[in-house]
């Protein structure tokens, strides 16, 4: 039943695509399309939620006569698919709600609306697919429709570049996945997941699959060094789409990884986890360091997605390590941590992108250096954005902390792992995780402080208006969810239990029965955390302090000019900017990672030119990995170029020789 509902909703979304194309001249088209998307995704969300909580043991299958005639299109909703459907449709529903208001500011809605509904349908189909063919077609459908959204504002020069890089990387990723499924399908070419699951490959072939999936799903999710398209493409799209791409589409990629590595490919080898952990740790730290160097609000958020994907992969890698060494209880803890972070990140990252979108519509600016003081003009947006910032910085009592806390607890279980490589790697990864959490807090002090606090740096920031009520509603819902998932994490952990059981055969202890709704991953004497109590304690202590002081001491208040050590400067340019705020961290970490150099041009006395400080950062991943590949491709294309200007005789002989050599290869094939 839930599967049928979900498939009908996808059909409705595809119908919405046609409607959106037909209504391209209708004035209220965007409200209609977004409302329809909202309804469809809400229905799917409910169906998936019911399935996850009530009937998770059942895994209904539907086969439609679409696609390849001898295969058909298989769809299935097991616990894993249901969980990711919840993530996808929760994000999609909120984005649609946000866009009912936000979409009014769109100049060319006909470039956004059809692709938007198609994008939602594509993501749902990837999660529902139960054979390799449907999976890959849906995956590519999702990639291409999101590419259309990245190119929505195609006259902006940077967007064209972003779209090109995205297209190349997406095709590359799909190619890797295609090959992975090719290996999985085996010699018989059976593409249905049920058959693949029964006849999973062994040894070396399984390892090839792992590496291909790491490249294919990892490039979509944004693992360093395959992340380069992400910070270009995510910010280029309209903000509600950025929220979807960052908060949800990267999770679909994580789904692809989990589905293949935990479900289809069979028992993991011990060294797989090392690869995944190393990628995860490097991605977490590099993502946040990149983010710290940004002053474009949306690009900063996109780089943070890279960081959080790293954290998720650390959880998944630990789960693989425990599973490979026959420790299912610990694997359940690590996998729960990773999946809970999938959910948490989709909530707070969508929230933050909505906030960035609200700022963008109200000021026309994405560059933090042109903003400031928005907390006065947009108090409600500022409040929810602050909630998102605290949540993503992994600070209690919000939800980001819970999943990182669980990951730390999983790391603390790993000394029991027998393999020496892991004994060295896991503490290092733990250090990287701690470092990335601390740097994330620094980065969001910067993001919130420079954008919303201080004094307005431009007229646009000074004239900002609070955003519309639909957008606010979407943001408030997610802000509330950040708090609820932070103070009552036990229910969310329990909801994940069927997913984890189906993948590693064990689950975390039931959390919702524990006294005071604490979460206890292993045993009370070992570790426990109670977000609700911490929240209540802070609220009571702060309230008590406020009450006592106001009542017993003084509650008088006077406004005046700022003190600033006696020499306040009215010019807002004297405030700290995003670049200057990050300077100490740039000096500590960037000198090595980005080869950061600062050059000061100080004109001679008497010269009236302004002094100048130039900061030079180099993106070594781009320079060392992508530039050589790109120049290699360009070189090869140049060399092949001469084939383009030949006589017809030469072309004919070329075709003839190609044909003959192909036939020879076929003849020689065993």
């Amino acid at each position: 039943m839930p599967l049928t509902i979900a498939l009908w909703c996808v059909a409705a979304l595809l119908g919405t695509v046609c409607l959106a194309v037909a209504m391209s001249r209708v004035r209220r088209a965007s409200q209609i399309v977004y409302s329809l998307s909202l309804a469809a995704t809400l229905a799917t969300l409910l169906a998936a939620l019911v399935h996850l909580v009530v009937g998770a043991e059942a895994a209904p299958v539907v086969v439609l006569q679409l696609g390849l005639p001898w295969l058909g299109a298989h769809f299935r909703m097991d616990a894993l698919a249901a969980f990711f459907l919840v993530v996808v449709n929760l994000g999609a529903a909120a984005a649609s709600l946000f866009a009912i208001g936000y979409g009014r500011h769109e100049h060319a809605p006909e470039r956004v609306l059809p692709f938007y509904a198609a994008f939602l349908a594509g993501m749902n189909l990837v999660v529902l697919a139960d054979d390799a063919f449907t999976f890959l077609v849906s995956w590519e459908f999702m990639s291409l429709s999101s590419w259309g959204l990245v190119m929505a504002h195609h006259r902006v020069r940077d967007n064209v570049h972003a779209g090109f890089v995205y297209l190349v990387m997406a095709s590359f990723g799909t190619l890797a996945l295609l090959l992975a499924y090719g290996v999985l399908a085996g010699p018989d070419g059976s593409y249905a997941f049920a058959v693949i699951r029964a006849t999973h490959p062994s040894g070396g072939l399984a390892a090839v699959v792992l590496l291909l999936v790491l490249v294919g799903a990892g490039s979509k999710a944004g693992l360093v060094p395959l992340h380069v398209w992400l910070p270009l493409a995510h910010p280029a799209a309209p903000s509600h789409v950025s929220a979807l791409m960052s908060g949800v589409m990267t999770k679909v990629a994580v789904y692809g990884f989990v589905r293949i590595v935990f479900d289809l490919v069979g028992p993991p080898a011990w060294w797989w986890s090392m690869v995944v952990l190393a990628f995860g740790g490097v991605t977490a730290v590099m993502g946040v360091l990149y983010a710290l160097m940004q002053h474009d609000l949306k690009r900063l958020l996109a780089y943070h997605t890279v960081e959080n994907i790293g954290i998720i992969f650390i959880g998944l890698g630990l789960a693989l390590a425990f599973e490979a060494h026959g420790m299912p209880a610990a694997a359940a803890l690590a996998l729960t941590a990773g999946l809970l972070h999938v959910f948490n990140h989709s909530v707070f990252k969508s929230l933050l992108f909505f906030g960035a979108g609200a700022v963008l519509t109200s000021t026309g600016e994405r560059d933090m250096e042109h903003l400031g003081g928005l907390i006065h003009r947009m108090p409600q947006t500022a409040f929810v954005f602050l909630v998102g910032c605290v949540a993503i910085s992994a600070l209690p009592p919000f939800n980001g902390f819970v999943s990182e806390w669980l990951t730390f607890q999983a790391i603390l279980l790993s000394p029991q792992l027998p393999s020496w490589g892991l004994k060295i790697l896991v503490p290092a990864v733990g250090g990287l995780l701690a470092l990335s959490a601390a740097l994330a807090a620094a980065c969001f002090v910067k993001a919130f402080g420079v954008t919303f606090l201080g004094r307005p740096r431009t007229g646009a920031a000074e004239r900002a208006q609070e955003t519309d009520r639909f957008s606010l509603a979407a943001m408030f819902v997610f802000a509330a969810l950040c708090l609820v998932a932070g103070i009552l994490p036990g229910f969310f952990i329990d909801a994940l239990a069927p997913v984890v059981t189906s993948l590693v055969g064990e689950r975390m202890p039931v959390q919702s029965q524990i006294d005071w709704l604490s979460i206890v991953p292993i045993a009370q004497s070992r570790s426990s955390y109670n977000g609700a109590l911490v929240f209540v304690f802070i609220a009571i202590s702060a309230g008590l302090a406020a009450f006592a002081i106001h009542r017993l001491a003084s509650d008088r208040l006077r406004r005046g000019p700022s003190w600033d050590c006696g020499s306040p400067d009215p010019n807002p340019a004297t405030q700290y900017t995003a670049v200057s705020f990050a300077q100490p961290i740039r000096r500590v970490f960037g000198t090595f990672v980005f080869r950061a150099r600062e050059r000061v041009e100080m004109p001679a006395p008497g010269d009236i030119r302004p002094a100048r400080l130039t900061v030079q950062l180099r993106d070594l991943v781009w320079e060392l990995l992508y530039v050589p590949v790109a120049s290699g491709v360009t070189f090869a294309a140049d060399k092949l170029n001469y084939l383009q200007f030949q006589t017809i005789r030469r072309y004919l002989s070329l075709v003839f020789f190609a044909l003959v050599s192909l036939l020879l290869v076929l003849a020689a094939w065993p």
């Binding site: 400031g372 907390i375 500022a382 605290v390 600070l395 209690p396 902390f401 806390w405 603390l412 790993s414 000394p415 004994k423 060295i424 503490p427 733990g430 250090g431 470092l435 601390a438 807090a441 620094a442 002090v445 402080g449 606090l453 201080g454 004094r455 604490s518 009370q524 004497s525 426990s528 955390y529 109670n530 109590l533 911490v534 304690f537 802070i538 609220a539 702060a542 309230g543 302090a545 002081i549 001491a553 003084s554 008088r556 208040l557 406004r559 005046g560 700022s562 003190w563 600033d564 050590c565 306040p568 400067d569 807002p572 004297t574 405030q575 700290y576 705020f581 100490p584 961290i585 500590v588």
Partner: protein, 318 residues
């Protein structure tokens, strides 16, 4: 009945830390003054300052937002909660399970997050310089602290502070390399987190060398009082944590006699006096370092914490 008693202990601990924190700050100040051959302010000067500040009106910058006014209460609330979870004279407190060591570290991180935001709120250059340096210091101190927690948790097999303390109090730990590394690292982190010399100077009035003080430059009146009190509480938290982890003697457990309790409190005060004395001597003996030397200083803590964790991953007997 037992639960009421436990609740009373928890309440007593909360009041005790609140009352002791300014005294500890005053005591360190007095000792430092004596070591520098000054008379120094009386021990109760911090209380007088707090009362005076609380009675004064708040002078708020024109463009300060609601966040600026809320932050002192949030910072105080988070720090106080952290302080009431760390054992002082009694371990196994009623609510000690509501947040383990990682959560306590993160609670202090929340307090710092909001304080750094407040530094940016008015939009002055001093606030900015303070916040930006504070987060730089935190970006190294916090991972170092997590690695320290890892080492302790791996030794004791738990991140619950009460369990770790019980383990340290038993005969099991003995002399371990990893614990030595952790003590060293924890001391460095405590110095950095509490803005003491050589990382920061709590008494400086030279703006360009300030970190913590620059961040709170715009605060006045009751807001400033709360922030000062939170800073004092934080010092007490770190000192109590080091004391209960590395000098767990005399800690009272559940079901102690009144006489035992009195001894527990006296021993705790003795530990604070010893800790404060060491801090004062250390601060007097050393010069403040340049801001960009601080990362190297904290890097040592981070590396030691990592080394401790690595050793324990290799073998639990280190």
């Amino acid at each position: 009945m037992a639960i009421v008693l436990e609740l009373a202990f928890q309440g007593a601990q909360m009041l005790l830390v609140l009352l002791l924190a300014p005294l500890l700050t005053g005591y360190v100040r007095k000792l430092k003054a004596r070591l520098q051959r000054r008379v120094g302010p009386p021990l109760i000067q911090p209380y007088r300052d707090l009362v005076r500040l609380m009675r004064k009106e708040v002078m708020l910058a024109d463009n300060a937002s609601w966040l600026f006014r809320v932050v002192p209460y949030l910072v105080f609330g988070a720090t106080w909660v952290a302080a009431s979870l760390v054992p002082t004279f009694k371990t196994g407190l009623l609510f000690s399970w509501s947040a383990d060591l990682i959560a306590i570290v993160a609670l202090l991180g929340s307090a710092r997050f909001f304080l750094a935001l407040a530094g940016l709120d008015v939009g002055t250059s001093f606030g900015g310089i303070g916040s930006s340096r504070e987060v730089m210091i935190a970006s190294l101190a916090e991972p170092a602290m997590i690695m320290i927690v890892f080492t302790l948790a791996l030794t004791a097999g738990s991140t619950q502070l009460a369990t770790v303390v019980a383990y340290m109090n038993s005969s099991e730990p003995g002399l371990r390399i990893s614990l030595g590394l952790v003590l060293f690292a924890l001391t460095i982190v405590a110095i950095a987190e509490n803005a003491r010399i050589p990382v920061d100077n709590p008494a400086t009035h030279l703006e360009l060398t300030m970190v913590h003080e620059a961040m709170i430059l715009e605060y006045s009146g009751r807001h400033l009082a709360l922030i000062e009190l939170s800073a004092a509480l934080k010092l007490l938290v770190y000192m109590s944590a080091i004391a209960c982890l590395f000098a767990p003697w005399g800690l009272v457990t559940t079901g102690a006699s009144p006489g035992g309790l009195a001894i527990g409190v006296i021993v705790y005060l003795g530990k604070l006096m010893a800790g404060g004395f060491l801090l004062a001597v250390f601060e007097t003996a050393i010069a403040k370092m340049r801001v960009f030397r601080v990362p190297e200083f904290l890097g040592v803590a981070l590396m030691l914490g990592l080394l401790g964790t690595l050793l324990l991953f290799v073998s639990r007997s280190f």
